[in-house]
């Protein structure tokens, strides 16, 4: 006797979060059963706890039954439980598969008629569907979201241990979000939140991913490996809110996926800080006066001032070139963070130095580009501070 057909359909769609996670994690319908068995203990305890809290007097016998069946092991009990589990999992997987189409445009999920899903479940479905593994996103961050990249996903999968199926879902999510917001005007995070009904946190992460993909920032170099996705996401947030067109005026009907061209042009003017010798010396002395006695690394700071300043200003000057924009982070690390690290600056040193470095420029009489300088250094400072760790 074999089960030819087995379906279970409910009016209010049931979705087990654990099974959903398994599905998202890419355990396939056929092979997942064993996987689920290993997960069952977790599932069991989770459910059990929630039951306990709801009905203190009623230890859930169903879970006990599952447990018993699990403990029964290879004997007949196991067979029965595996059957039920299998049937249940298949039902859920089918539901998820049918839902997937809707999840691709979450707004549809809210007003579709096929599945009656309570709103908090919808939120959960969307949020989890668009959630991503930080190891995975670290691999593709800044890469072009193209077919070529997609083809390489099996390497990424092998490297990160994330299943290929899951990699593809995550990649497709990035691409889908990218494609939708690419054509939209207005604030990036807002657009993502509206069109994908994501939480603020997740929308910001996606904004970072889109921003990185659009500007093709290099993140894969070995020197950048120590940086996490959250480091980059923070930097992206800074760049988006300060260096893009939308940053200055929210009402400007333009996207904030691209850096503001005018601003980048203006950055060239900062070169005077390193080309003009007087200005450079003046700047150095101002900074050193302020720092003296306040840090152990003062000597190194004083010795390296010119190099470091050249590094930062050169980065600014080069940003008009899109190729150079891609190297923004690697430049920051090579030209600034690494020298400081080799001189054993602490995070406090770094903050102190950057604060005075930025502020001292205002005192320079001949330096006329205060606004641009602040806009530039504000971002640079917070990025460096975020990136300055082991």
């Amino acid at each position: 006797m074999s089960v030819e057909l087995d379906v279970f359909v409910v009016n209010t769609t049931i979705m087990d979060e654990e099974v959903y996670q398994l599905w998202l994690d890419g355990y396939t319908g056929l092979g997942h059963n064993i996987n689920q068995l290993t997960h069952i203990d977790i599932l069991d305890t989770v459910i059990h706890q929630s039951y306990e809290s709801c009905y203190l007097s009623a230890p859930s016998s169903v879970n006990d039954a599952v447990k018993v069946r699990m403990e029964g092991g290879v004997l007949e009990g196991c067979e029965a439980s595996a059957e039920v589990l299998h049937s249940d999992t298949m039902d859920q997987y089918r539901t998820f598969q049918m839902c997937e189409r809707l999840l691709h445009s979450p707004v549809k999920l809210a007003n579709q008629l096929l599945f009656q899903i309570p709103p908090h479940r919808q939120v959960m479905l969307i949020e989890r569907y668009y959630a991503f593994d930080s190891v995975f996103v670290r691999e593709v961050l800044g890469k072009k979201l193209s077919k070529g990249t997609k083809k390489d996903l099996d390497d990424v999968s092998a490297k990160t241990g994330v299943t290929l199926k899951s990699c593809r879902r995550q990649f497709d999510n990035f691409k889908r979000v990218f494609k939708v917001v690419e054509e939209l005007k207005g604030p990036l995070v807002e657009n993502i939140r509206q069109h994908f009904l994501l939480s603020d946190k997740l929308a910001r992460d996606y904004a970072a991913i889109v921003f990185f993909a659009n500007n093709r920032f290099e993140t894969g170099k070995k020197k950048l490996h120590y940086l996490t996705f959250q480091d980059f996401a923070f930097c992206a947030g800074q760049l988006i809110s300060n260096w893009t067109v939308g940053a200055l005026d929210n009402m400007v009907e333009d996207m904030d996926v691209d850096l503001e061209k005018e601003f980048l042009q203006d950055l060239k003017e900062l070169k005077i800080l390193i080309t003009d010798r007087d200005l450079l010396d003046q700047h150095k002395s101002l900074v050193c006066t302020a720092l003296r006695g306040k840090t152990k690394a003062f000597n190194e700071m004083e010795a390296n001032f010119k190099n470091l300043s050249r590094g930062l200003v050169n980065i600014a000057a080069k940003l008009t070139n899109t190729k150079e924009v891609r190297d923004f982070f690697i430049d920051l690390v090579e030209k600034f963070i690494e020298p400081c690290r080799s001189d054993k600056w602490t995070a406090g040193d770094m903050r102190l130095y950057l604060t005075h470095y930025t502020n001292s420029a205002h005192v320079l009489d001949t330096f006329k580009h205060q606004v641009v300088w602040d806009r530039y250094m504000g971002v640079i400072k917070s990025c460096i501070l975020k990136m300055y760790h082991d």
Binding site: N11, Y55, P119, E190, S199, D200
Partner: protein, 1104 residues
């Protein structure tokens, strides 16, 4: 002539891409009714077209309005080639034809294609202007209300029950017409869908005409079925109970709190023919006619009443449990279980005799004193005899003349006659809880009918009103305004009153035998009623009806199933029919035995909602009997089950038997605990009833807890056959055969096997196939309706009967186990109205479909009714609290939008911590509409300004900020939020009150695929189809302005596959009553809100 149908096509959304080049669609709509077609303009290049058409007007006969559906076809315009159809929507106009039902159909309806399934949605508006036609010769029956519900619908009051109505329409099945060879599957499916829709309409109209003829205005318990007879044609038939219903004005509606479940009818001024007005609710003493006893001295306590009001019933009476027969046109079947008919109680007391005569005169004028109701107004049901059923095997032949479906009519008439005569044999005049079904395999068709023989109170019939009793009541129940609200205790009043009316104590009257004890239809044990100890009751009672509200039940009930599989040889024509009809009586007998044994095993004594289904396949017959077992306090305690070996020869054999016996005893003891069956001992000790009781027995019973009592009674039986406690009262013979299982008998071995293999139901779960579970009162509002379908392939072709039985039993058990697992998050809960349907779609295939509703309840199940009420309001508070929390949070996040705009995750966390695991039902109730919530969250955060959300704004279906706040260039389709539509096979929703019935939903869908593998195989195909059917039902309910579908049933689910060709086809027929409900706790507080919502949101938002 008189009727103007108006339709307006507003918009479409989520349309499929029809033009690959542009990834867009140029959609337009055809609106067709009868032979008239209108078209909208083409809305170019959009997946979300806004047609906003004019009103298309159809001037049509009301006859057509009833028969025809409005057909809406969405097409993709193509300049060069033929326009491609995207899909269709059929709209049944019928709900708009009754002034009390819906007034407009408006909302998003799924566009359905039989090959692709749902392809987007369309927003339509449909209205009907009806001119009154008083032509006596009219062919239409507009205005007759139809209800699937098999009880008197809430918010109506029954003035009269007219009786049985039936009709049958036949036609050629388009699938089998010659033209089918040349048309596409889509065209063929659509022809079929349309035809069935037409036939349903016609059928309903014709039944309506009959109802009008009888003077009624409604059909309750409307049951419509399709017989797909293949080559021979297509039969659509329906039965129902014609009634005259009076609408209750909302203010005076009797508040039947859901746990009591049934019809406390309002005590409004008595109409001339509604002579009976039932038990009074003690909560509403204000409007009451004065009970008759106001003049007849002080209210008498219940106990003493019978002495003053009549029934000196004969001291001894016979008993029956089931009478059935199988019959063929070949007349080869022996009848079983039937005694000689007609037994009017010779020695019955004068009143009873009188009652009988009146009932008879009232009922016998009817051709069929048959009622499809399963729940009755109080006092309607006097006595219940037992189950009557009939089966008949017929050979199908082509229906030559569809306009005169005489053969089919004759078949059913024959069956109903037989049912009637069975009922007579049980001393009953009427059959209640009646249903009909068929099972077809090739050219063989088994017609089945079953019901419960009963004696009814004639006062509900028109003729009955003329009887003396009735007129007495009418006279005595004239309102005495001066005495309203007098100091009499209301509870006492109602009981005395009822007592008088029914001439027997209300809670046990229905179990008293209606037949003559000395002329019993078949042997059974009788005892005095354990409740009133005045009349005889059978030891076991089987019925097809729901548990009457007044019945006193000890403990809880449970689902009891008997399953049976019998092989048969493949054959053709008459030989086949003969062999089937030869098998039937044996199957019925075995099913009956199984049921009886399982009932004993659970220590119960009555079955309700019994439904025996026998399905025929090419090489086997399947029998499945489902019922809900309960322990009726008025019936004697069931004895145990004793196993006896025929030849007690060797030791090991004896040991085997004793271990078996022990297992059975253990199970019984366990079940008693499980179902909380602790019958009150008082009755068993009552000297009046048990004068000659064995002293030993009394000692045992007094001194020991319940399990011991059980043991003792069993002991008696095993030690001395003659001195058993029942023997004193038992005047009949052969009393033991139901209890003793002889193990030498192979059948018995099988029985024992099946008895003991029934897996115990997991703790926290209960199950029943009736409306509600006796013993559970405090339902929460958490509920989940589900359908599960399984198809099994029997791999081994040469299976024995035993082997097949085992497989079939396992199959049902596994299905149940699976359901328990899947619904574990709802614990503690009860699966109610578990409806199993079995079929043998092909050789070696068994299909089982289950539809039921899981309802959760509060753990403290033994709490009183008032407790349940407070709980209800408590939940409401919770709901309020919840929404306030949400608002609060979004406000907070608004206060500091730049600093920390993290309102969404926070509130999301609140949700998840609030509703851990997979608990939906309860959650769903807390939020009015889902999108609204989602949107609110997004919306409030999006806006920069601080904004408090007032409750009125929360209720408004369209927060206006949405469109403005969207600065995007793309237009997002966002209409009204999706209404939550609850579905349940029950006639009510716990904790709510139905305020309006909007009309019957009766839909038929065909889905076909030629890419089965791509759609996820058979399971994927059927899963999405059932989900689509649910979605379409919900959408149509919502379009009528409703928020729930009650009395839902999936009548047909025919699945055919051809995996080799990568094809499959499925037909589904569903029905139910669309209703508007409100939370019980809301009803005082915000009724105006409901009405305003309804009107303002055009029916899109009517949820709690």
């Amino acid at each position: 002539m008189p009727g103007k149908l108006k339709a307006k096509i507003v918009a479409g959304r989520h349309l499929p891409v029809m033009d690959r080049a542009s990834d867009l669609t140029d959609a337009f709509v055809e609106v067709k009714f009868g032979n008239t077609t209108f078209k909208t303009d083409v809305f170019p290049k959009s997946l979300n077209p806004q047609w906003n058409s004019e009103w298309f007007k159809f001037e049509v006969d009301d006859e057509d309005l009833q028969d025809e559906p409005l057909q809406i076809t969405v097409l993709d315009h193509d300049t060069y080639s033929a326009n491609d159809a995207i899909g269709k929507v059929y709209i049944d106009i019928d709900p708009l034809l009754s002034c009390e039902a819906a007034t407009v159909i408006s909302g998003w309806l799924p566009i359905y294609d039989t090959i692709h399934g749902i392809r987007g949605e369309i927003n339509v508006l449909v209205k009907v202007d009806l001119f009154n036609d008083l032509n006596r010769f009219r062919q239409s029956s507009c205005g007759v209300k139809f209800f699937c519900t098999t009880s008197i619908p809430r918010c109506y009051r029954v003035a009269l029950v007219h009786g049985f109505v039936e009709e049958l329409v036949v036609n050629e099945d388009p699938e089998y017409q010659w033209i089918d060879r040349i048309r596409t599957p889509r065209a063929s499916n659509e022809a079929r869908q349309r035809l069935i829709s037409l036939m349903s309409g016609e059928l309903q109209r014709k039944i309506g005409l009959k109802v009008l003829e009888m003077g009624g205005n409604a059909v309750v318990g409307y049951l419509q079925c399709f017989d797909l007879e293949g080559e021979s044609g297509l039969v659509v038939r329906a039965i129902g109970t014609a009634c005259t219903l009076d609408k209750l004005s909302p203010g005076t509606a009797p508040n039947t709190t859901t746990h009591t479940n049934t019809h406390t009818l309002p005590n409004t001024a008595p109409t001339s023919n509604a002579c009976n007005s039932p038990s009074k609710d003690s909560k509403e003493p204000v409007f009451s006619e004065d009970p008759p006893h106001s003049l007849s001295g002080p209210p008498t306590p219940l106990r003493t009443l019978p002495s003053s009001s009549p029934p000196p019933f004969s001291p001894s009476k016979p008993c029956s449990r089931q009478s059935s027969s199988s019959d063929t046109d070949l007349s080869l079947t022996p009848r079983i279980g039937m005694g000689s008919g007609g037994s009017v109680g010779k020695e019955a007391g004068p009143l009873k005799t009188l009652l009988r005569q009146h009932t008879q005169s009232a009922l016998e004028q009817r051709e069929f004193p048959i009622f499809t109701l399963t729940c009755f107004p109080p006092g309607f049901l006097v006595h219940v005899g037992g189950v009557v059923s009939t089966r008949s095997v017929k050979l199908l032949d082509r229906i030559h003349n569809p306009d005169e479906p005489e053969t089919r009519d004759a078949w059913w008439e024959e069956i109903r006659q037989e049912i009637k005569s069975h009922a007579k044999a049980l001393g009953c005049h009427a059959v209640v809880g009646y249903s009909e079904s068929t099972s077809i395999c090739e050219e063989v068709c088994i017609l089945s009918a079953s019901g419960t023989a009963a004696m009814l109170n004639p006062r509900f019939m028109r003729e009955g009103c003329l009887d003396t009793g009735g007129s007495d009541h009418r006279l005595s129940r004239q309102p005495h305004p001066g005495m309203v609200g007098s100091e009499r205790g209301e509870g006492e009043v109602s009981s005395t009153w009822l007592g008088f009316e029914d001439a027997s104590p209300p809670s046990c009257g229905f179990v008293h035998i209606p037949y003559d004890e000395f002329n019993m239809p078949f042997p059974a044990q009788l005892t005095y009623c354990y409740h009133c100890r005045r009349q005889k009751v059978p030891d076991v009672l089987f019925t097809t009806i729901d548990l009457p509200a007044e019945a006193e039940v000890t403990g809880k009930g449970c689902l009891i199933q008997a399953r049976l599989c019998r092989t048969k040889k493949k054959a053709q024509g008459e030989v086949n029919a003969t062999s089937i009809s030869n098998l039937l009586p044996f199957m019925e007998y075995e099913l009956h035995t199984q049921l009886m044994n399982k009932l004993k095993l659970r220590s119960m004594n009555a079955l309700f909602g019994l439904r025996i289904q026998i399905s025929v396949g090419e090489n086997m017959l399947l029998g499945l009997a489902s019922a809900t077992g309960v322990y009726l306090s008025a019936l004697p305690a069931p004895g145990g089950i004793q196993i006896a070996g025929k030849t007690p020869s060797d030791l090991s054999y004896d040991q085997h038997i004793s271990t078996m016996q022990k297992r059975i005893d253990d199970t019984i003891a366990k079940n008693k605990e499980l179902y909380n069956i602790h019958p009150p001992k008082l009755f068993t000790l009552d000297p009046e009833a048990f004068t000659g009781l064995n002293t030993e027995c009394i000692e045992e019973v007094v001194g020991s807890p319940i399990p011991d009592r059980q043991r003792s009674s069993r002991l008696f039986r095993s030690t001395s056959e003659s001195s058993d406690e029942l023997s004193e009262l038992d005047l009949s013979h052969g009393k033991k055969d139901a209890f003793v299982l002889e193990i030498d008998d192979t059948d018995a071995v099988e029985d024992i096997q099946s008895l003991l293999t029934d897996a115990p139901i997991p703790a926290g779960f209960y199950s029943c196939n009736t409306e509600v579970m006796p013993g559970i009162h405090n339902w929460t509002s958490g509920l989940q309706m589900f359908t599960s379908v399984r198809v099994y392939r029997l791999s081994n072709a040469n299976l024995t009967n035993q082997g097949l039985n085992k497989i079939f039993t396992d199959l049902c058990e596994n299905l149940l186990k699976s359901l328990y697992f899947k619904l574990r998050s709802m614990i503690p809960c009860c699966l109610c109205h578990l409806n199993f349907t079995v079929a043998v779609p092909e050789e070696e295939l068994i299909q089982v479909a289950v539809t039921a509703v899981a309802m959760s309840f509060d753990k403290e199940t033994q709490q009183a009714a008032d407790k349940a009420l407070t709980r209800g309001s408590g939940e409401n508070e919770e709901q309020l609290q919840f929404s306030m929390e949400l608002c609060g949070e979004s406000t907070i996040s608004n206060n500091q939008p730049t600093a920390k705009p993290s309102g969404v995750p926070e509130s999301a966390m609140v949700h998840s911590s609030r509703a851990p695991s997979v608990d939906y039902g309860s959650f769903a109730d807390r939020c009015s509409t889902w999108l609204e919530l989602l949107r609110l969250k997004a919306h409030t955060i999006r806006r920069g300004s601080v904004k408090t959300i007032s409750s009125s704004e929360r209720c408004s279906p369209l927060p206006e900020g949405r469109s403005r706040s969207l600065r995007s260039t793309r237009s997002l389709p966002c209409g009204a939020p999706v209404t939550v539509v609850k579905m349940t096979p029950l006639s009510f929703l716990p904790g709510t009150r139905i305020v309006k019935y909007l009309g019957i939903i009766n839909m038929f869908f065909i889905r076909e695929t030629t890419s089965l593998r791509e759609e996820g195989g058979v399971s994927g195909f059927l899963h999405s189809f059932i989900a689509e059917v649910f979605a379409m039902v919900r959408a149509h309910v919502a379009a009528l302005g409703g928020n729930a579908l009650v009395s839902y049933s999936m009548k047909e689910c025919v699945f055919m596959e051809n995996p080799n060709k990568n094809q499959a086809q499925c037909l589904i027929n569903v029905s139910g009553d669309a209703v508007i409900f409100i939370r019980e706790s809301d009803q005082e507080a915000i009724p105006p809100l409901l009405t305003s919502r309804q009107t303002s949101s055009t029916g899109a938002d009517g949820t709690t």
